[in-house]
């Protein structure tokens, strides 16, 4: 079934992922659960506004100065939003665990988010998107999109628009 794809700037997504990774690693090293909670909050706000949480850094600083070039691809934005929402849930659970005195569980969840963001930023594979496409196979309400033609579910699109 063909479906309309939208223009998705993967540089904004990548910036978001790299900032999430950096802040979470810093939070772990300095043992700052508050910083992890801040990351969770920004990801939550991003999910509500349907934009990458730290995308404003790319939009207002990196892109205008030419420090990062746009990488606009024909893609579905919904799986990326879902992936960020999943990240928000993990980060919220991790932050709560840290504040409630369960550091091993808390930091494990934070590192899980770091690992998944790194896989997406450096490996081009979005696990949250793959979960979205997997759920869409079961016709779950709200999970209607299919991967772009010729793209493995969750991988960064490499083929032209269908």
């Amino acid at each position: 079934m063909t479906q309309p794809l939208q223009k998705v700037d993967h540089s904004a997504l990548k910036t978001n992922q790299i900032i999430i990774i950096s802040l979470n690693v810093l939070a772990f090293i300095l043992n700052l659960p508050g910083l992890a909670a801040f990351v969770a909050l920004v990801m939550g706000i991003g999910s509500l506004l349907k934009i990458p949480g730290f995308g404003f850094v790319y939009k207002n600083i990196l892109k205008p100065r030419g420090w990062m070039k746009p990488d606009v691809l024909d893609d579905n934005p919904e799986p990326h939003r879902f992936a960020q929402f999943l990240g928000f849930l993990f980060m919220t659970a991790g932050s709560l665990s840290l504040f409630l005195g369960a550091p091993i569980l808390g930091w494990s969840l934070v590192w899980l988010v770091v690992a998944l963001a790194a896989l997406n930023a450096f490996g081009g594979f979005c696990v949250g998107c793959a979960v979205y496409y997997w759920l869409s196979r079961f016709n779950l309400p709200g999970f209607s999109k299919q991967p772009p033609a010729g793209t493995f579910p969750g991988m960064k699109p490499k083929l032209g628009a269908s």
Binding site: V25, F28, L30, D74, W111, A115, F122, G124, K158, G160
Partner: protein, 141 residues
């Protein structure tokens, strides 16, 4: 041990632990790249009937790949002009040859493979590889 020393030790330990975790992730990434190289070595025959007897740069791209046009292509042009006849560049459009992208295990573009004169895949770069990096890889062959 006073509180300040303990705090510094604790910080150093956490930093060390972060480095170990990141190192493990990097090792996993290295293992995946090694798997790609093995796959590439087994599939050189899909590109060449006879080897060109010089280093080869295989470049997977697509028409709509923005970093390919703005960064990767100029980098390859620079390497190519510096090395001239000493390097063979093979550009593959993954939209036209999805079969090749599949057998070579290419999952994103740009992806570049550096093959030595014997046709053995020695390096793989997932994502943009700068001219300096490509030159360094070719010079170590």
């Amino acid at each position: 041990m006073n509180a300040e020393t303990m705090s510094t030790t604790y910080l150093v330990l956490r930093f060390g632990l972060a480095i170990v975790i990141i190192g493990l992730g990097a090792f996993a990434y290295w293992l995946i790249n090694q798997r790609l190289l093995v796959r590439a070595r087994n599939n050189v025959s899909t590109l060449f009937n006879t080897l060109p007897n010089k280093p080869v740069l295989i470049y997977f791209t697509t028409p709509d790949c923005a970093p390919c046009k703005t960064i990767q292509r100029p980098a390859i042009n620079r390497v190519s002009s510096l090395l001239g006849e000493d390097l063979e560049v093979v550009e593959i459009d993954a939209t036209e040859r999805p079969d090749l992208a599949k057998v070579w295990g290419v999952m994103s573009v740009p992806t570049t493979f550096v093959l030595d004169a014997r046709g053995e895949a020695r390096y793989v770069n997932n994502g943009v590889a700068r001219a300096e990096k490509l030159l360094e890889q070719i010079q170590t062959l």
